[in-house]
């Protein structure tokens, strides 16, 4: 019988003990798996979210941050200049603000929305139309401002394509004295960056300016989105734009991700390192204790095997195989358990305000499984070292004598 066979028989000989131990490893292993997912999850999710918008370079004013943006000076001219660069495929201007949206006659049931103005009629990746039409390229004079509303807002206000809607922009603060703007829902869509407890509305730049009561500000923007040409890449495009206008800040998606990694995500990375380490220490202590107690219970058997001529390495191999089985079976069970736990933990963390609905803290990557397996294997090996040392070094004659006397 091989060491694996003997180890397996040893485990199944005490099914209750084995099930509890494997269950314990599975639960702790699930936690370890989730902490490993957490260490990169937000980063991977955020990068995916940025990339799905279809633009890989962002231009903002020198003041502010990628999130809290100040208006860009000469945005239309800047956009034109960027369009003419050889490494650029597509350019869009964006501006954002806050507004209250309400159906006519129901001003007291208004919903707070994030208002997006865009030069692009359809920003596939930023929002996807599920009903109705994209924003028209031009709007005839006197026509209501066209809007794309999010599916959640459409459901809340009971509107659909063609429905009238009124918007009152907030220029900061709780009260707004601006008149409401009459609009029309052109389409209903899903917005990639919409947070769970937020609603989003997109409109044309002219519509945005009109809603602000400043039609002359139609050319203003606080964000320029650039899609680099295939073969050129975002880094080269970003360098070209920075050379064009040194007074603005240019970020490739990778640089935005890196900034968030250094600022916002670092806490979760650190906490995942701390919790992963503690989980591993925990697993090590528990498996080592279990194996040590198991060896102490079987000292007579071990001494008898040694007396029969089984060498130390065979005894050690038996114990290492037992540890490997315990940690291996438990570790395998930890994966589906960890997946389920990740859903729960992700839901908890996504309770933070203002997070895009599509942003997740726990994102599966195959490398995480490999790392998880490697860490558990190392822990199982280390946890077996002391009981192996105990069993391999026990004095045979003294142990036999003690077992007989006891």
């Amino acid at each position: 019988m091989t060491a694996w066979g003997l180890a397996w028989r040893t485990l199944v000989h005490n099914p209750a003990r084995a099930c509890l131990a494997i269950g314990g490893v599975a639960v702790i292993g699930a936690l370890l798996f989730d902490m490993l997912l957490l260490s990169r999850g937000l980063l991977v999710s955020f990068r995916d979210l940025l990339d799905t918008a279809g633009y890989d370079v962002r231009v903002v004013a020198n003041e502010g941050s990628p999130i809290h943006r100040a208006p860009l000076d000469g945005a239309p001219a800047l956009a034109d200049a960027i369009r003419r660069l050889p490494g650029v495929e597509r350019v869009a201007l964006l501006r954002t603000g806050n507004a209250m949206a309400m159906t006519p006659g129901h001003e007291n049931t208004a919903a707070g929305v994030t208002l997006i103005g865009s030069t692009e009629s359809a920003m596939s990746g930023a929002w996807d139309i599920v009903k109705g039409e994209p924003l028209p390229a031009t709007v005839a004079a006197g026509q209501p401002t066209p809007l794309i509303v999010s599916t959640k807002l459409a459901e809340l206000l009971g509107v659909g394509p063609g429905s009238p809607l009124r918007l009152r922009v907030s220029l900061g603060g709780g009260a707004s004295a601006l008149p409401a703007l009459d609009c029309r829902v052109a389409g209903v869509g899903t917005f990639q960056f919409e947070a769970e407890d937020f609603y989003t509305v997109a409109t044309t730049m002219a519509g945005f300016a009109a809603a602000q009561g400043a039609p002359e500000s139609e050319g203003d923007a606080d964000l320029v989105l650039v899609a680099s040409a295939p073969g050129v890449g975002p880094e080269a495009a970003a360098r070209a734009i920075a050379a064009l206008r040194p007074d603005v800040r240019v970020y490739s998606n990778a640089q935005v991700v890196e900034q968030f990694n250094a600022r916002a995500f670092t806490y979760f990375r650190q906490i995942s390192v701390v919790l992963s380490s503690m989980t591993l220490v925990f697993a090590f202590l528990l498996v080592a204790t279990l194996l040590t107690m198991s060896v102490n219970q079987r000292l007579g058997e071990v001494a008898a095997l040694r007396a029969l001529g089984f060498p130390r390495r065979r005894i050690a191999a038996n114990l290492l195989c037992e540890s490997a089985l315990l940690v291996g079976v438990g570790g395998a069970a930890a994966l589906p358990l960890g997946g389920a736990l990740a859903v729960v933990l992700d839901r908890i963390l996504r309770g933070m305000p203002g997070l895009p609905e599509r942003l997740h803290f726990f994102v599966f990557e195959p490398r995480t499984m490999v790392l998880h397996a490697a860490l558990l294997a190392a822990t199982g090996f280390l946890a077996a070292l002391y009981p192996v040392w105990l069993a391999a070094r026990l004095p045979i004659a003294a142990t036999l004598r003690r077992e007989i006397v006891s």
Binding site: L20, A21, L31
Partner: protein, 290 residues
């Protein structure tokens, strides 16, 4: 001739000295410079000490730079919302900051601020005051500084997250604890069988197991709290070093310690009883049989 030569030399040296002294005479003395307080982190990075002069500018090119005298170095109040950002900051007198950051194109910029901190005569009026100000002055946000601990507070979310992790850890360790208790009971199988053979009742054996469980569980729970206190120091030291902050990240309060003991002790006792149940439910012959 010599005297005229000497006189001309003296005049030349004097004028040289005067010329050299002119910039010093016209520059403000260090004590006349406006003062600034710098954060400890900025002082370390810029190798600044109290009394040094430092130049600040609102522009990366250094245009319109202003010299200040470092009047003091302060430890920034740790901000849990910003602990990942290095606290490279300085505090200026408001007029100095306004003078430095004013835009020539915007005459009002020299009189603008981004925020006003208000201390009310009655802090209980904060909500009403904020609402009233927001309603009367469009374009500003007014909010109390106290946090509403509702579900959307990031720290409430983090608390829930850590609680979930703690629950999972307790479940995992309970499984192990039960396994160890089952093993312990198996070790004592013969002893319990012999005791039962001698006529001792199951109830008495159970009481002994219970008493042992209470002692071990209580001792273990207290030991666990001590380990937590030691770990508290280690975790805080690590994060304070990592983020160069004095923020306290982990605090084992009396309430938390008592909660831990209240959870661990009964778990230990129940685990002991469950382990012993696997023994006591067997008949005496099975217990003593090898």
């Amino acid at each position: 001739m010599l005297s005229s030569h000497r006189a001309r030399s003296a005049a030349f040296v004097t004028s040289l000295l005067l010329a050299a002294a002119f910039p010093l005479l016209s520059a403000p003395a260090v004590s006349d410079l406006p003062t600034v307080l710098v954060s400890r982190q900025l002082a370390e990075r810029g190798k600044l000490h109290v009394g040094d002069t430092a130049t600040f500018a609102n522009d990366a090119s250094g245009a319109n730079a202003t010299r200040f005298r470092v009047a003091g170095i302060y430890e920034p109040t740790p901000d849990p919302m910003r602990f990942t950002s290095p606290r490279i900051e300085a505090r200026l007198h408001l007029p100095d900051l306004q003078a430095m950051t004013a835009s020539r194109d915007d005459p009002a910029s020299g009189e603008s601020v981004r925020a006003l901190n208000i201390r009310l005569a009655d802090p209980g009026d904060a909500d009403a005051f904020a609402t009233a100000v927001g309603a009367r002055v469009p374009g500003i946000f007014a909010r109390p500084t106290t946090r509403a601990r509702d579900g959307s507070d990031p720290f409430v979310v983090l608390e829930r997250f850590h609680l979930a992790v703690a629950i999972v850890t307790v479940i995992g360790s309970t499984a192990f604890l039960l396994a160890l208790m089952v093993m312990r009971s198996e070790e004592r199988r013969e002893t319990v069988g012999i005791i039962r053979l001698l006529g001792v009742s199951q109830r008495f054996v159970l009481l002994v197991v219970l008493a042992e469980g209470v002692l071990i569980a209580a001792a273990g729970a207290v030991f666990g709290v001590l380990v937590a206190l030691a770990a508290e120091g280690g975790v805080n030291q690590f994060f304070q070093w990592r983020y160069d902050t004095t923020l306290v990240f982990v605090r084992v309060s009396a309430r938390i310690a008592l909660q831990s003991v209240a959870l661990a002790a009964p778990l230990g006792i129940v685990a002991g009883l469950v382990g012993s149940w696997t023994l006591l439910r067997r008949d005496i012959v099975t217990l003593v049989r090898r």
